[in-house]
């Protein structure tokens, strides 16, 4: 069934969009990532104009994250206090990121920088997570599943001032690291046009030492606000949010997120992490290949007045 999208001004298959939304929704619920880093390239591939794809996707992420976060709330998997602290950093970062984005666009190479950002961050995070979770799985195999290693570094992070209790996470740390993580992810989110979950999740696990069970819900919680903010900005400045596209994708997305959350609770934390790592590496590999292999058509067409 073909359907004409009023803002994107293209005609696409409605079932394709439902399926795409569902697939990304499952991943979103499972890993607590917004799914933006997967959805953007997929929407480009089916011929949605980039500006519309990025803006509409922010709107969809709000829906799937909200659906996911409700499920996590019921399982007490959201650290509200941590979420708010991350969010404060995140909104400030996003504000700066939008400025940086505008500056890069003026310089002309914004497309390349976004791609390089993707390859770099997806590559580093994917590789780190892959190695770490592989080690964790190996350890649990050799020593038996009963052994629980409480791995909490007492480094410089714990020497910082302004300590705060994060009861749900079981942490008593300074607010500076979460604020910094939020800020940094906010910048990247604005530049790369994603919710930032795939950076946020590992940062929360490895930098802040939060338990994996709380990480996903808390990440989703703050993603709702960051992407909601982005949706409003895109809708009022660029008029690029396509409601019809959004509705079709989010019907699939919210159902997928529910399914994903349930799959997520059945899997072990290490398994969850290694799956996410493989996915992140796969996307990274695809983007890197695009940069390295000679494209079939050297010329590309952009709309608008450029510069």
């Amino acid at each position: 069934m073909q359907i004409y999208l009023p803002i994107a001004e293209v005609s696409v298959n409605a079932f394709l969009l439902l399926g795409l939304g569902g697939m990304v929704g499952i991943l979103s619920g499972m890993f607590g990532v917004g799914g933006g880093f997967l959805m953007t390239p997929l929407l480009f591939m089916i011929g949605i104009p980039p500006a519309v794809a990025v803006a509409t996707e922010a709107n969809i992420i709000v829906a799937s994250s909200f659906s996911g976060v409700l499920a996590h709330f019921r399982r007490k998997g959201v650290d509200l206090r941590m979420g708010v602290v991350l969010l404060i950093g995140g909104l400030a970062g996003a504000g700066l990121g939008v400025q940086v984005f505008a500056l890069l666009r003026e310089l002309g190479q914004v497309d390349l920088l976004v791609r390089l950002c993707y390859v770099l961050f997806l590559g580093i995070i994917g590789a780190l997570m892959f190695v770490e979770s592989l080690n964790a799985i190996r350890k649990s195999r050799t020593k038996g599943p009963a052994q629980r290693t409480v791995r909490r570094q007492r480094g410089w992070i714990h020497a910082l001032p302004f300590k705060m209790k994060f009861r749900t996470s079981g942490l008593y740390i300074s607010v500076i690291p979460p604020l910094a993580v939020g800020f940094f992810v906010g910048i990247l989110a604005a530049i790369m046009g994603v919710g930032g979950g795939f950076i946020m999740v590992p940062a929360m696990i490895y930098l802040l030492g939060m338990p994996t069970k709380v990480v996903v819900g808390t990440s989703l919680f703050q993603i709702i606000f960051v992407t909601g903010f982005a949706t409003l900005l895109h809708a009022t400045t660029n008029y690029t949010v396509d409601m019809v596209l959004a509705v079709l994708l989010l019907i699939g997305g919210v159902v997928g997120a529910q399914v994903g959350t349930r799959i997520g609770t059945r899997l072990k934390a290490e398994q969850l992490r290694i799956l996410l790592a493989i996915m992140v590496l796969a996307v990274c590999g695809k983007l890197a290949l695009d940069l390295l292999i000679e494209p079939a058509e050297l010329y590309s067409i952009g709309t608008g007045a450029g510069h």
Binding site: Q2, I3, Y4, P6, I7, E9, V10, S11, G47, N59, V62, A63, S64, S65, F66, S67, G68, L70, A71, R74, G108, Q109, D111, L112, G228, T231, L232, H234, A235, T236, Y239, V241, M243, V244, A246, V247, L250, I251, V254, V255, A257, Q258, R262, D290, L291, L292, I293, E294, P295, E297, L298, Y299, S300, I301, G302, T303, G304, A305, G306, H307
Partner: protein, 251 residues
């Protein structure tokens, strides 16, 4: 006196002897939710008072042109091992859609000077005034623009698709793609002999969104904030509904 009059008539004849009478199967295209491209039938006849001249050869050219828009064409090159946009030109005016259909190859049906005068071929439709200063090989960029858009079905050059019967009746079908933008689509029909345009006819097709498409588009542009909030509201409600539904279904 009579001889002089005949001479005058003979001189005046080529300009007015043959006229195009044409019409379209539709002069409005409505983009509704289920819009998936459209096909326009262009048909007509050549009206004349005298017998059909045998030479020079007759040709009919039909063009449909979408609204103009500015575009940027960029070229990639390998820099330090990766493919990067190295240079680009700005094309001030390029039609959002352009199709040329003709009875015979355009190079035979139309001389270059007539093409310049009437801007019939796709290349003549592109206006890149500042391009020459931006890149050394601007024509390569314009050729690339045409090539890419032809591959996407936005520009079409259909030679030999106009059927001409007994040098009098003609018809052709031009497909409008599903990715159509709103606006007036100017339709022109040219009658040429030996590459010279002897008559032309112009009309336009009005393409517009209707119903829900119209409503959403207008809301998004005129009430952007309300539209944004509404989009968020739909997202939140959909997220909540899915959550509540699944909780009810699988407690």
């Amino acid at each position: 006196m009579i001889r002089a009059l005949l001479l005058l008539l003979a001189l005046a004849l080529p300009a007015a002897a043959e006229e195009v009478v044409a019409d379209l199967s539709q002069d409005r295209v409505s983009i509704s939710t289920s819009f998936d491209g459209s096909e326009i039938l262009v048909f007509g006849a050549i009206k004349r008072q005298a017998p059909i001249p045998l030479q020079p050869p007759l040709a009919v050219i039909v063009t449909i042109e979408g609204p103009d828009e500015p575009v940027v064409v960029r070229r990639k090159d390998r820099v330090a091992g990766i493919w990067v946009n190295v240079e680009g030109i700005e094309v001030e005016r390029a039609p959002a859609f352009y199709a040329v259909a003709s009875t015979r190859p355009l190079s035979e049906a139309l001389s270059e000077t007539e093409d310049l005068r009437w801007s019939i071929s796709t290349r003549q439709k592109l206006r890149a005034v500042g391009a020459a200063s931006e890149a050394a090989n601007a024509p390569a960029f314009l050729d690339a623009l045409i090539r890419v858009r032809q591959a996407e079905g936005i520009y079409a050059r259909a030679e030999g698709t106009v059927q001409l019967r007994d040098d009098t009746l003609f018809s052709t079908k031009i497909a409008l793609p599903s990715a159509l933008t709103e606006g007036n689509y100017e339709t022109r029909i040219f009658l040429t002999r030996g590459g010279e345009v002897i008559d032309s006819y112009a009309t336009s097709i009005y393409v517009s969104k209707v119903g829900l498409e119209r409503f959403i588009y207008t809301l998004a542009h005129d009430q952007a904030l309300i539209y944004g909030v509404l989009s968020l509201f739909i997202a939140i409600v959909a997220g909540w509904l899915a959550s509540a539904f699944f909780r009810y279904l699988l407690p």
